[in-house]
Symmetry: C2
Subunit: 391 residues, 2 copies
Amino acid sequence: MQESERFAARVEGVSGSAIRELFKLTSRPGVISFGGGNPSPAALPDEIVADICRELVATNGKVLLQYGMTEGLPALRESLTGYLQSEFGVTTDAGCILPVTGSTQAFNLLLDAYTDPGDVILTENPTFLGATQAMHLHQLRVIPVDSDEQGLRVDALEEAIRRHRPRMLYTIPTFQNPTGVTMPLERRKRIAELAAQYDILVAEDDPYHSLRYTGESLPAIKAFDMDGHVALMGSFSKVISPGLRVGFLVCEPKLLRKCVICKQSDDLHTANLNQAVVDAYLRRDLLRPHVQEVCARYGAQLNCMLSALEEMQGVQRFTRPEGGLFIFAYLKNNVNATEMLMKAVDRGVAYVPGTYFYPDGGHENTLRLNFSNADIPTIERGMALLNDCLK
Amino acid sequence: MQESERFAARVEGVSGSAIRELFKLTSRPGVISFGGGNPSPAALPDEIVADICRELVATNGKVLLQYGMTEGLPALRESLTGYLQSEFGVTTDAGCILPVTGSTQAFNLLLDAYTDPGDVILTENPTFLGATQAMHLHQLRVIPVDSDEQGLRVDALEEAIRRHRPRMLYTIPTFQNPTGVTMPLERRKRIAELAAQYDILVAEDDPYHSLRYTGESLPAIKAFDMDGHVALMGSFSKVISPGLRVGFLVCEPKLLRKCVICKQSDDLHTANLNQAVVDAYLRRDLLRPHVQEVCARYGAQLNCMLSALEEMQGVQRFTRPEGGLFIFAYLKNNVNATEMLMKAVDRGVAYVPGTYFYPDGGHENTLRLNFSNADIPTIERGMALLNDCLK
């Protein structure tokens, strides 16, 4: 083999996000997709963003079009402090906040700055596929921890910590991807305690936090972090626009500094205009009314999908999320959701087989259903098609 | 030491870009900066970009604000094929082009996809500091190769290849950073040949290509690549706006695929709006007249700085670039440019000491001068202040 045909060890055997590849297969015209995690087109505020972009560049273009600091736009770091307090119950200051190019980058920077190949990372079981891909690219040992309808089981977590001596825990405590389940207050507190006790870092991924349709908002695990053992990652992809690629990382300053050094080589800084659009949403109190509108829409879509699931004979059980974007369903009679997918796409509906979200595979009778991207009539049609597949 | 006080091996000992830290020191109000690589504020097309942003989001916001493909906006990949042909003499197709979040990301992805810790990478001597930082974060062995007033010496390169068996060569063939020198046609051809002969990958960084003020445009090394041994990286930071963070990578499809996999975990995709602005510049033929205007401005600024250098007794010699952003100067009597910097800043002028650009250090009597960011009266004032420091 030629040298130039060989690639880095970190990319050998990593074949790319199965979900993103699946999108290509299932994005045939006419196929109803419950597969992605896309916001509804109706929830993308194109008119407001168009006006804000023009205004920001016209009034402050010489700054926004110039190079910015790797640490992010000072105005956005400042406005994020208030947002973190009101939305996540996290009291912090601008020096602990790093605006990033989507929360995908936040996790990648944390892995760059804090993990070495061979380190152990614990995750929920199942967990977000994009995150496990980043773990594999960092050559980590991924150990899934038993999870139930309240998320990560803290007894299983402590046992896994003692047994595997992990460097990091990756968790999505709120409206988890793919299950939609939310970790109650006591578990959040306990995880912060365990992280301090065993000196591990919790990478808390909370991109769906504001998308709550019922129940009470909960503070982030980061809110219970006394001594820098939790790094919180958030995103504006689900509440403003994924195409803008703006998220944030909150962690203690020494770790943040290492992430900044990695970001210098990663993309130098997050695009200024994109940061400024998010800052404008926060400062002008545009985010809250927009999220309210989006929640009303998605809440109705969630209820529609839950009602359809209740009627489906082939479904054994499914989660009942209080927010977020996803429902996780378990099929009866060990029907294989991967094998069923092509049949479903042929009938005109797509989803993601749940097995992809289990780091150790298996659980072939599960699937993840997204309810944010399709409107109610489309959800009704798509669920009827899915029901046909199961008959 | 607590576990949580320890960081990843790749970030231990990497202290961050000296240039970016220097910016903070030298950005005191009133200090004339020849230090950065910033475009002139006058060259940032704020009014046009403001209008384009509004128009693009208003007419196509439901697409631009939604998730995009990691591979990039199809329209931009398409328009880049024509741009690569006309500007770089590179014949390629959209499947070999990856839009990225600034060419900084292009190099990071190449290192992710193609290098393992301990691999050898060859560079010019001196070379771009941001690139060497990325090499250190990838734990590469950086070997600088003798360079002269025509760039990399190809005889020294062949010797270094035989001796060190490198995995990659990093080169900036056109208006090099920090020296401003340009590699002639024959050397470009020879480098492509050597890469094929010894089966190494050339990472060709060409962000200043279009900023030519005198002489004839030269094809990229990539133009002479027959079998995928050259990856070309380009940027719109210097010709439209650095704050938008849009660049591109051109390489053979298998390597591109591995870079796409790394980009999935890096930032998922480059912001759609930012890609669409660049696409509009290319499609509407806005880039060519803008670059002409910028070149007229920068060319006059370059001449002004060269004239000032000719009059300076303390300067031994300096490069005479045909384009780009930088002049490299050598001081007489072994004056130490790092030691002189604080004195210069106190007098009101800043630059980057050249020693930072030499991977092995030394060359303390050198400095890099940027002529793009300051207008002619400011350059005259700044060079007079610098002359005072040398007396």
